[in-house]
């Protein structure tokens, strides 16, 4: 009977869950990123082929790995939202999208910065860079579609459809770009990332992936809270929370 009320009740719980998890993710994420980055930058041995430039790997690979998993996570959230009509799911989708776009952007910039010393050019139409660029546009497309709607419930559904269309296309895009690349470029590109990495290089890499994932998780929790606040602006529990918040900031 109170079906429409039920999800509201759930969002309050979700909000508090986010609040509880937030400090853990923030502190752990920051600590692990710092630790892994310092390890990677200062203590890991050098690469005999690429010298110190290879250290870009400790920011490039984590962001590149995350970008695709964030898109998949976003599409999964969209799917759950569309099939089971879960409102919170759309909120999660929209909390993930800007993080995904940012992370993709970082992977593009670092990819270019790595390309300059290695390939002698800032931008190479390398398969991975190209599909990363397209991925960023897919993220931005979902975000702008969502922003274009006044009615956020409708916006969630529309952006969800587009996210799913994108995720179906993602492997096709990836495959087609790779194929197009081999067709045009041949083996002119220096292959990066050797199959076997010495453990003292690999460990900081794995740690930095973990750190970036945790930090993205922390930002996701924060943005999820924002999405909830925005949608439930008139709920009593939100109002109580806002009063508490203003009292707190005045106390300072």
């Amino acid at each position: 009977m109170w079906k429409w009320l039920h999800p509201y009740a759930k969002t309050e719980r979700t909000y508090h869950l986010c609040q509880r998890l937030l400090p853990w993710f923030s502190v752990l994420g920051l600590a692990v990123i710092l630790f892994a980055t310092v390890w990677g930058l200062a203590y890991a041995p050098t690469d005999y082929q690429q010298s110190e430039a290879y250290r870009i790997i400790y920011v490039h690979v984590p962001t590149a790995v995350l970008s695709k998993s964030l898109y998949s996570a976003m599409a999964v959230a969209a799917f759950i939202g569309l099939v089971w009509q879960v409102k919170t799911s759309f909120m999660a989708m929209m909390a993930l999208a800007p993080i995904g776009a940012t992370v993709t952007f970082i992977s593009l910039v670092t990819g270019a910065a790595w390309g300059k010393p290695m390939w002698g050019t800032w931008w190479e139409w390398d398969a991975r860079l190209t599909s990363q660029l397209i991925l960023m546009f897919l993220f931005l497309g979902v975000i702008s579609l969502y922003k274009a709607f006044e009615d956020k419930q409708q916006a969630g559904k529309a952006a969800g459809v587009m996210a799913i269309v994108g995720v179906i296309n993602l492997p096709i895009i990836h495959y087609s770009v790779e194929w197009w690349n081999t067709l045009h470029q041949g083996a002119t590109i220096l292959k990066l990332g050797k199959p076997s990495m010495p453990p003292e290089m690999l460990w900081p890499l794995l740690l930095s992936i973990l750190g970036w994932a945790l930090a993205s998780g922390a930002i996701f929790l924060l943005r999820m809270q924002n999405e909830i606040l925005q949608r439930e602006i008139k709920r009593p529990w939100v109002v109580a929370l806002a009063h508490k918040n203003s009292a707190l900031s005045k106390g300072k």
């Binding site: 050098t46 010298s51 110190e52 940012t102 970082i106 910065a113 300059k116 924060l222 008139k234």
Partner: protein
């Protein structure tokens, strides 16, 4: 530490620009995203409060107009009490929101 001194660390074997550009842009983007999320949370809280004052405004306006209506109706009914009563019983049954027909 792998590097001999701080200069070697900053130089990164001649690749300093690219390495520090990468890490700098990564850190900066992450920071911007994080700050944006934090600030928009604060903004949302102030929005919640201003929405509350707006609600209160609407409520008081509605009460005022209702009170004005009531006093006007009271004057009228004093003038023609009986005819009003007769009219009321004659009107079709009024149902309001929420009741079952």
């Amino acid at each position: 530490m792998y590097f001999e001194d701080i200069n070697g660390f900053l130089d990164m074997g001649g690749y300093g620009l690219y390495v520090w550009l990468s890490f700098g842009s990564g850190a900066l983007s992450l920071l911007v995203l994080w700050l944006d999320s934090l600030f928009s949370k604060q903004r949302l809280f102030t929005q919640v409060l201003s929405e509350q004052t707006r609600q209160a405004r609407i409520k008081s306006a509605a009460e005022k107009s209702a009170a004005a209506e009531q006093s006007a109706a009271a004057e009228q009914s004093a003038a023609a009490e009986q005819s009003a009563a007769a009219e009321q019983s004659a009107t079709a049954e009024q149902r309001t929101n929420g009741e079952t027909i």
